[in-house]
Structure formats: C-alpha cells, structure tokens
Symmetry: D2
Subunit: 296 residues, 4 copies
C-alpha cells in the first residue's frame, strides 16, 4: 500500500480518493473547500507525507494547475514526484516537468477518462513521462484503473505530455462519436418511421456494430426522459475538442468529423448567428426572399 | 421581334415580361392574379398567339409546373414550343418533354439566375434541349440575357434537363459562396480585431480575390444595416441545394462545402435540436456536466 | 423448435443458418451455389416446409431481393410469411409487403447487424411489421439475437419498413463512429507525440468514454498490423450511409458528421479529383502558384 | 509623388514596384537577387531615401519578415515608417510595432490581395495602424489600389494587426469560394448531364448570382485546358486558411465551410491516409469486407 497526496477534491478528485482508499491506499486530500479537505494547506499536506512523496494534482487546467505545480516545486524535495491528472493541454506538461526537474522532482502527466462512473468502474488512464517514474506510481495507477488486464485500461503513452495528448485525442474521438449518435437520434425523431425510438436504441446494445458505453448512456438518458425534452440543446465544450482541431491544423490532418462535432456545439450556443443573418441578408438582396425581422 | 406567351407573373415572371417588352417583343402574360394578367385563362393566352407559338412557364416547380405543362399539351398545336424557366428539378424535364413530344410540341428547360436584379441587369440563362429548338427561341434568350457576349450570360448546356441541371449546380455553388462570406463576416464580428467591419468588406470590392456580385450585395446589405441585426438568422432553402447534395450522393462526389452550407440553413431554423439535446444528455450522463433545463 | 426457409447463404446467411441450427431450429437453406445449398430451387425449398411457412431472404438489396419476393409470392400460400433480412432500402419494404399482402402472405423487414461475428455473438435485430407477425417469428429472432435481455439486442421498431429504417440509421451512426476513430488514429500517427499508438488505443478498452465494440475491433486490427500499412485507404460504401444522408436532406436534419464520414469514403476512392484540380487551377490563375503537372 | 523603399522583389514585390513607378512614385527596391535589386543592401537602401522614410516589406511571413523589421529598426530613424505588406500572421504585427515604436519608428500592416493581376488591376488593400500613419502612406496606397472609389479597394481596418486580420479572413472566404466552385465543377463533370461543362461555366459570367472574379479565372483556366487534366489535384495551403480556422476555434465561431475547404486541401496531398486505412481495417474486421492490400 502506498501513500498519496491528492490536490483537488471536486467531482473527479473526490471519487478518486474514494477508489484509492477502497483499494487500501493512504490518501491525504487537499481542497480549498474545507468540508472535503483532509488538510488545511498544501504545506500541511506535504508535511503529512513520508518521502519520497507522490502528489497528484486534480485541479482545473491552465492557471490553477500551473500555480499548484509552482507551489509544489517550493514545498517538495528532490526525489518526490508530481502527477498532473487534470485536463491540461499537453504543451503545459513540458513546462511543468522542467520547472520540477530543476529541483530534481519527478513529473508525470496522466489523462483520466471515465467521468462520474470512474469511482465504480475504474478510470481509463494514459500516462506520459519517464518509465522509472511510471513504475513508481504503478500501484496508484493500478488502483485507479478498471479491473481486468492492465493494458486494456492503462497505457504509458510516451514522454512527458504524451498522456495528455492521448487524452486530448480520446476526447476528440468522443466528440465525434457523440455527434454521430446525436444525428442518428435526431433523424429517428424527425422521420417518425420508427415508432418507438427509445426501444430501437435500447435494442442496439447487444450484437450491433454501434454498441458502446456511450450508447449505454444514451439508453440510460432515454429511460429517464424518452424524448430528451427536459433539457436544452445547449452544449459546452471543454478544451480538448478545440485542441484536437488545432492539432489537426498543425499536422495537416483532415478532421471533418471532429470539427463538425465541435462546430455543432458552438452553434448550439448561438441564437441568430451573424453568419446566418448574413445569409438571410444576401438572399433578401438578390431574391427579395422574405426574411424574419428580429424581434418580429 | 417575336411573340411569347408567359405564364406566371410573380417576382421573376413579372420582371421578365418588362425586360422582354423593353426589348420590343410582344408578351402575352397570364397569371392567376388578374391585376397583373394580360389574359383570363391559358386557353385565352394560347388563342392570342400566332403559330408556331412559344410559351414560357414561370410558375413554382413541381406540381404547379407539371399541371401547366399538361394543360398546355392540350391547348397547343404541333410545332409549338414550351419553355420551362422555373426552378424545376432536372428529372421533371424528361417527363415534360415526353408528354409534349407525343403531341409534336417542342420543349426546352431553362435555368434562370439573377433574382430581382435581372430586369435591369439581364438574367443568366442555362438551356437544355434540341439545338433547333434553342435556335428558335434565341431572340427571347437574347432579350433576357445580360448585355455583352452571348456566351458569357447564356449556355446551351445539353439535352433536355441539362439547363435545370446547370442551374441546380449553380445554386449549390451559390450556397457555398454565401456561407463562406457568412463565416467570414461572423469571424470579423466576433473577434473585434477589425474595428470597421463594413468598411473592410466594402474595401474588398475591387482588386481582391473575393470580389463578386455576392460581395457587392453584402456591401449593399451592410450599407442598410451595418450589423445586420434587423433580421433573424433564419434561412430557408429552396430545393436546388438539396438536389445538388442528392447528386453528390448519386455520383459519389464529396461535397463538404455545399452540404455544410445546406446544413447551416437547416440548423438556423431549429431551436434546441434533438441532436444537441442528445449530446447534452450524454455529457450529463458521463460527466455530471450541468445541462440547461428546458424552460429553465 | 421452428422450421425456416432461408434464401441466400453468403457470408451473413451461411452463419445465420449455423446459429439457428445450433439453437435447435430446422433450416432449409437455398443458394445459387449448390455447394452450400440444401435444396435445388425456391420451389423445392417451399415444398420442403410445412405450412404456415416462414421464409427469410438474405440476398443483396434491390433487384435480387425484389425478384426473390416476387417469386415467393408465386410459390407461397396464404398465411405464410416472408422476412427480408437483407440491407434493403426501407422504401422497398412497402412494395414487398403490398405485393405479398395481395396473396395474404405476411411480411416483416428485419435489419441485421453484427457482421461475421454474429454467428458467435448473436445479431442485433430491428424489425418492422405487424405485431402478430413479429410474435410468430419470435423464436427465430430469439435464436439469432445475442444472449441477454431480448430488448437489448432486438427491437420491434414500428410498421413495415421501420426495421430497415432503424438499421439504416444504425449504419449512418456507424459511419460517423468509424470516421471519428479514424481521425483520432491519424492524428496520433501524424503528431508522433504518443510513442506507442497501439498501446494507447488498447488502453482505451476499459474505463474510457470511447470504449466500444468498434474500438475492440481497431485494437484487433492493430494487433495484426500495428501501423495498418498492409492495406490501402480505399473504402467502399454500401448504401445505408447514402440513404441516411438522403433522409437528412428529406427531413431537413443537419448531419455534418455522417455526411463527412460518407464523403471521406468517396474521396478515398479518388485520385486527383476534378474538384481539387479546379482549386489547383484557380490558385495557379490568380497567384501563379506552382501546380503539379499530371504525369509530371 | 513620394519616395518608397521596397524590400522583397518576388512575384508580388516586383509587380508592385512596376505599378508604383507607373504612377510616378520613386521606388528604391531591394532584393537578395541582384538581378532585380536597385541597391546592394538594406543599409544602402535606407541611405538612398530622404527622411522621413517609408519602407515597405514584401518578404515571406514569419522569420524573414521579423528579421527585416529588426534590421530596419537599427537602420531607420525616429519619424520613419515601416509597412509590412506580406502575408504575416496578425499577431506578429504587435511585436513588430512595439519593436519599432521603441525607436519612434511608425508601423502599419497591410494585407494585399490580387495576386499576379495586381500590377494591372491594382491590389485590394487592408491596413492596420494609427490614422496619422495611414494618412502619410496614402499616396502609396492610392497608387497600389485599383482605380475607382478608394473605399472599394482599400480599407483602414483598425489598429495594428487589423490589416493582416482582414486579409486572413479574406483568404478564409477565398478558400470556401474556391471549394464551392470546385465541388460544382466536379459534379458537372461526374454527372455528365451537362454536355459542355466549360460553356456552362463561361455562361455564368454575366447575370448569375455566382459571377465573380474567381469564376472568371475558372473560365480562363478552362479555356486553356477544358477538363483541367493537365494538372494534379494536389493543393498547397499557405497559412491564412489555417489561421482563420484557429480564429474560429478561439472565438467559438462555427466555420464548417472554411474548415471543409482547408481539409480538402490537406486530403488532396495524401495518399492512403491513416484515417481511411483505419476505416478499411474496421470494415474488414467486422464485416469481412474486402480491402485493397497495399502494393497489391
């Protein structure tokens, strides 16, 4: 059994602490919210761990993660290790690793998938960093990953950054898969040839080519709300989809499906986009086509 | 100078009659609306024309055009000719031509572009049918088409149907061009790096690669309403875009731009699409991501 | 145990006969290939079945299926039933059902998913037709579908045509999912940030959001050929993707992901498409940009 | 008449010098190629200009432009001005302006459109920077821009960077327009309903909605090569399309047409993309569908 510091006890971090403790590991958790925190400060957290320490960061990507790494750099000692398990951009990892390496502190980046179900099912993990560091943290990874063969729920993807890179691409694929199901659902709803749409989708869970966890979740959602009309078609995006598209640009890789899925989310948050007002204006100009007047 | 029967005096037909008369041709127009009609019935129209007659149909595509062709088949005589200048699907033309050919009545299909500006600028014409029939109707085409070399505003595209086919593809391209300008406009509006968006777009009218009639119309629209916020981003589509995409499917031709332009119109008419409600539901299922409750 | 006539013993039909027989049902199979056929003709097949008969058609969609239905209409008796399990277009089903109904022969359409794995795993089934007919054929469906709860591998989707409609949409979704994985794979390959691409993809099989049967198959393919370079990126399409896009057009449903997946297949089969030659020509015209001369 | 230093005498710069001289301005041009250069070094160029000097840079974007700005910063004097007319990314402009401002040297960025035709037709210009600086350079802009009203071929788009931003969006639109024409051309070629494709496209030049300079260029290309089969469908991209898509991502603006046009170029340069090999592999795995073996 190992000892772990865990910073960030939100939806993901909180559940991960549960899963790690259920596996018998000792977890000292820190969160700004004292109701869930085991300790009062990062300094206190570090003091409660025996060296060589492993500290897992599970805070929002960008500035919060960066600040936490910086602070840990000041608190930890040579031979300790930091793992960033948040949804960081892979280019941040090199900066973090370099900052810590200057103090002989190790660094791994770990993409974590599985959402709120991870506590029960385990988390899919993609790790970047040095093999020796990965080896040191393996008991943690083994506790977090799903049961079954390690290589089916865990990968050492490459050097620092490769874990988050793999997670980013994972999420890009996820965007495309979700949009594929979404388009199929809308077509079934619109055409009304299929009478019992939820039954058809439920019936895809076994034997079909599209069987998948996302399909299982769609079935679950339809069980709760058969026409999904309790909610608005307003969809946020969280970074990885955009970064995946940036990678497509940078590598000259066509990504029509992933970009379409991302743009559908952008469009879902717009009312009367400037683009479509321009198309309406053009049609009105050349054809005298009727337009809907705003506020009309 | 020739004599022409013209059926359908809506936005397009009315203006075409004006342009033809201005060119010195005799036009007997019929419309269900007596305020604009020169005659009381198709029968009356036919009786007012000397043979061999040419009758131009300018009524909505589909059933109305089909019914008009059928009725003309009963009223006209061998050696007469019908021209369908409406936005018919090219597959309708073969049916029309065969029906009329059985009575030795000629048939041409003519795609007409130019919108409300055609009266002044002339109409771009794409014609399908037999060369001899095209020759007979050439004075009409010459009056309707823009000034300048005939081959720059008129084409004999091929056999019956080819005129409407060419017009369909023209409109598919038009969809793509409009959407390209629309996306550019939205980007300029959103990013706010450019301070004077209408000035930039106006400045593209000369010397640039994107100079075009659609750009001129966008400038005109922005002159009237600099942020295009007097109208909603709600855009109809009128058939040709859909048919173009069907042709892409039938011929295994990738048409990502034309389809994207068509889908943007579809989406512009939706609120809370089933697809995006499905994506929101999935995100909620796996990540516990917040959703906007309908009516919330 | 029931008795079934099965016409068409190709990859799918052959395996279905095996699965049905393993479940204890009596199957009389017919195929033009005498090596696999149990009988010499449709006439002979019909004579070997006790009434009321059930005959399952598993031949190519379109003309072959239509011809088989017509022939069965002449051979079967009132009270018999035909099930079309092929990949027919849903609009064909009404024609088939009407033809057979005129002779008091029942008709069901059944979308069948699962490919070559169905023999072992069972087939996902989506059925259209009258409830009483579905009930009669349920022992067959129960033998073909996967183990587990019936409603997770079988659905009665609606009236005649709804089974094939559901299968068509299923395949449209499948196109989108495959393309999503494909884009992700290409990005991983291109960027080279991830060192061991097959390991990362294998590691997605448990715990992640993208876990799915298609992912399992991708892992299997990568086990056999880690860079997938034993084969060409030339991909056929088989009808359902095109029909799904037609439905999107007909119902004004945006389908950017499914269309992108279809167009990627179209493009995969082209060399030097006319479209991209046109773009190259335009760039050359305005910018003097170098072009690659054909055959150069 | 004014005096101008012009650095970079490639396809664009060379022609601009011609147009400026034809308008009566004095141009001292520098290029690394002594055959076209008026002077032997930047130092020499600067020495040949009377103060306050205006120096126009027309060298490749990125490092070459940056190096030239830096060198000019060392050679020019307070009150002089630099104009970057190359295809720089708009974010570079702030860096350039700041570098020069530290020495009291002014800076404008100018997007220049028009390609090889600009010498004759004039160049579409989009300028970013301070109004006073724009005023000083106006004689230059007036000589370079097309004849006609200034505001139709020139815009002061905003602060430093806005000129290149406007040019970037212009090029994004251009990508979409070109792809729209390209798809239409391919559809006409593929369907063979239209017998004389070049005649139809030529006939779109007057009166139609799609009339545009790009269409004129397509007509010109088809006049030279009616099926465009002298060249390969291999299309480069030059930066602005990618940057436009990055802006779409950064501003959450859906850009399905511009991205599709960019991806079509990426795909045009691939043979057997990893993505389509993955789709082929998946189809083979689940369906036993035949694949084309590489090198087969």
């Amino acid at each position: 059994m190992v000892q772990l510091g865990l910073i960030g006890l939100g939806k993901m971090g909180f559940n991960m602490r549960e899963r790690l403790r259920a596996a018998g590991h000792e977890v000292v958790g820190y969160d700004r919210n004292p109701d869930v925190s085991d300790t009062t400060s990062l300094e206190d957290l570090v003091s409660k761990l025996d060296g060589p320490r492993i500290v897992w960061i599970m805070v929002p990507a960008g500035e919060p993660t960066r600040a936490t790494v910086t602070e840990l750099g000041n608190l930890l000692s040579a031979g300790d290790m930091v793992i960033d398990g948040g949804n960081s951009k892979y280019t941040d990892d090199k900066l973090n690793a370099d900052l810590l390496a200057a103090k002989s502190i190790g660094y791994l980046d770990c993409g974590v998938s599985g959402g709120v179900w991870g506590k029960e099912n385990g988390y899919g993990l993609m790790v970047g960093g040095a093999a020796a560091d990965v080896e040191k943290a393996m008991p943690i990874f083994d506790a977090l990953r799903p049961d079954g063969p390690r290589e089916e729920g865990f990968s050492h993807a490459g050097d620092v950054g490769a874990g988050h890179y793999a997670k980013m691409i994972h999420n890009g694929i996820e965007y495309g898969m979700m949009q594929a199901f979404a388009e199929g659902f809308e077509l079934l709803e619109a055409a009304k040839v299929v009478k019992d749409v939820p039954a058809v989708i439920k019936g895809w869970q076994r034997g079909t080519v599209v069987r998948s966890w996302l399909l299982d979740l769609l079935v679950r959602a339809l069980d709760e709300d058969p026409e999904l009309d309790d909610l608005e078609g307003y969809v946020e995006d969280s970074g990885e989809g955009r970064w995946t598209l940036e990678e497509a640009i940078n590598n000259a890789v066509p990504a029509p499906v992933i970009s379409a899925a991302l743009f559908a989310r952008f469009a879902s948050r717009q009312e009367h986009s400037a683009a479509m007002r321009a198309v309406a204006a053009l049609r009105n100009q050349f054809g005298g086509h009727a337009v809907k007047k705003a506020g009309g």
